[in-house]
Subunit: 305 residues, 2 copies
Amino acid sequence: MTADTAYCDWIAVDWGTSRLRAWAMAGVGLDARPKAEVSSEAGMSTLDRAGFEPALLDLVSPWLGAGQTEVVACGMVGSRQGWVEAPYRPVPAPPPSDPVIAPTSDPRIAVRVLPGLRQDNPPDVMRGEETQIAGFLATRPGFDGVLCLPGTHTKWAQISAGEVVSFRTFMTGELFALVSDHSLLRHTIGPGWDDAAFADALSDAIARPEAMAARLFALRAEGLLTGLAPSAARARASGLLVGAELAAARPYWLGNAVAVVGAPAQSKLYTTALRLQGLVPDEAPGDAMVLAGLAAAQAVLEPTP
Amino acid sequence: MTADTAYCDWIAVDWGTSRLRAWAMAGVGLDARPKAEVSSEAGMSTLDRAGFEPALLDLVSPWLGAGQTEVVACGMVGSRQGWVEAPYRPVPAPPPSDPVIAPTSDPRIAVRVLPGLRQDNPPDVMRGEETQIAGFLATRPGFDGVLCLPGTHTKWAQISAGEVVSFRTFMTGELFALVSDHSLLRHTIGPGWDDAAFADALSDAIARPEAMAARLFALRAEGLLTGLAPSAARARASGLLVGAELAAARPYWLGNAVAVVGAPAQSKLYTTALRLQGLVPDEAPGDAMVLAGLAAAQAVLEPTP
């Protein structure tokens, strides 16, 4: 490797609110493979518009050669507060399509940003997950069913004929973080886990999802009165929140092929919960799917002007 | 008033987690009236055990005379981390009863702390609200029905024959504060209010309480896509949370006489919500009820040893 020859064929970027990840990619399309990965805390929320190019170059410049290297990015980098706005595409739509060129001053990079998806009724948006969906569809052509994408804001997406037909976002992950770190329950919820407590709470919540705010307080009361274990409290709080989500998302998962796409720890919650409803969900790692989605988008790019 | 004669007949204290309030009281029982009120931020959570007596004296010493003045206190001051633990009494129980004497070094005060209530199944606790309930029952003898006590942790209590038979706590107020101040929705929720948006969201949530985590995210999406007004977002978030609570508390309010006891702003949410269900709730101010409850307890005190 010299300064004249680029280290990689192209660069894949997943740029979220709080984190920037980049991969040096070898090959294209289904053959694309990551050679190296770098990341930083230079998320969208820490940058103004002029800060994106330097933040990216700071991470990837060792990979660049004398010529121009193609960069394909997804996530909040395409939001109104991002590097360039890549407007949401309305569903139904095949994900992702029509990237937007980001303004750059360094001639060694040509950056394209993938748009997110929007739904008008009920109102909903996604940015980043559409690329994971594209990756899943690239590796499972012909999949018809439902994808569950766990995270801070978990998405359920109905897929048909290669398009996202409808989707729904649940703030479950963020509510769990708020409740366990910032509410009165922070004194009750501790580290560790209890599978049986998760299953019980999940079942309770699916049966009576409206009682969540009372069942959460009951964890505190049980902690005071009978010394509920902090690990059981954590699993029960999670089960209550995921259970309410499953009750509301029933039209998505009931009677459909379901796959869970995400980070292993979060995915496990949902695959466990779905198995307890009698389903046999497929699983795919979120990291690999976002790379596959970026590769699918890169493979069909027109050359930059 | 001289240093020899106390300014008041006794002192009423409501000592919560984050705030200390004290009233100089003239008269006893149903004739007791506040002459003066003082308050500070010296809540239970800011004090260690040795800090309670100085914090109280700091506020009330101008009211004391040469003799001993009786102080009756309720709230978190009686918790395990408080001045003295006044153990929870199990329901069914008449509220409040059997105060516990707090250790003091200043001979001018004799302090008694009222216990809270506990319920073993489902597990629940209250501290402070039992005194508001006692005040309500002192002013409405013979009341049979349900009290709703709105707050950070809203309580619903079933009252029969002068006793609290059962109760249930909902973290609704705390969830609203977390969601509006600390979640992604802090960018969507702003000041102001929209009565129609509250009523619509309330009705949606009573019909489908399980969808709360999705409907909350939809506020963010609608803010991005169609510019939902921050005041409407605030009222909708509140309506979604209160609606889910009403769905879960239906066994309490349906077919019963209901009274709402609390601070006017929070009480208004619940009286509005209950009226939309066809009820005609009674109302009583929380401040006056806690004073009436402390007065009822003071009236039956044995002299301190």
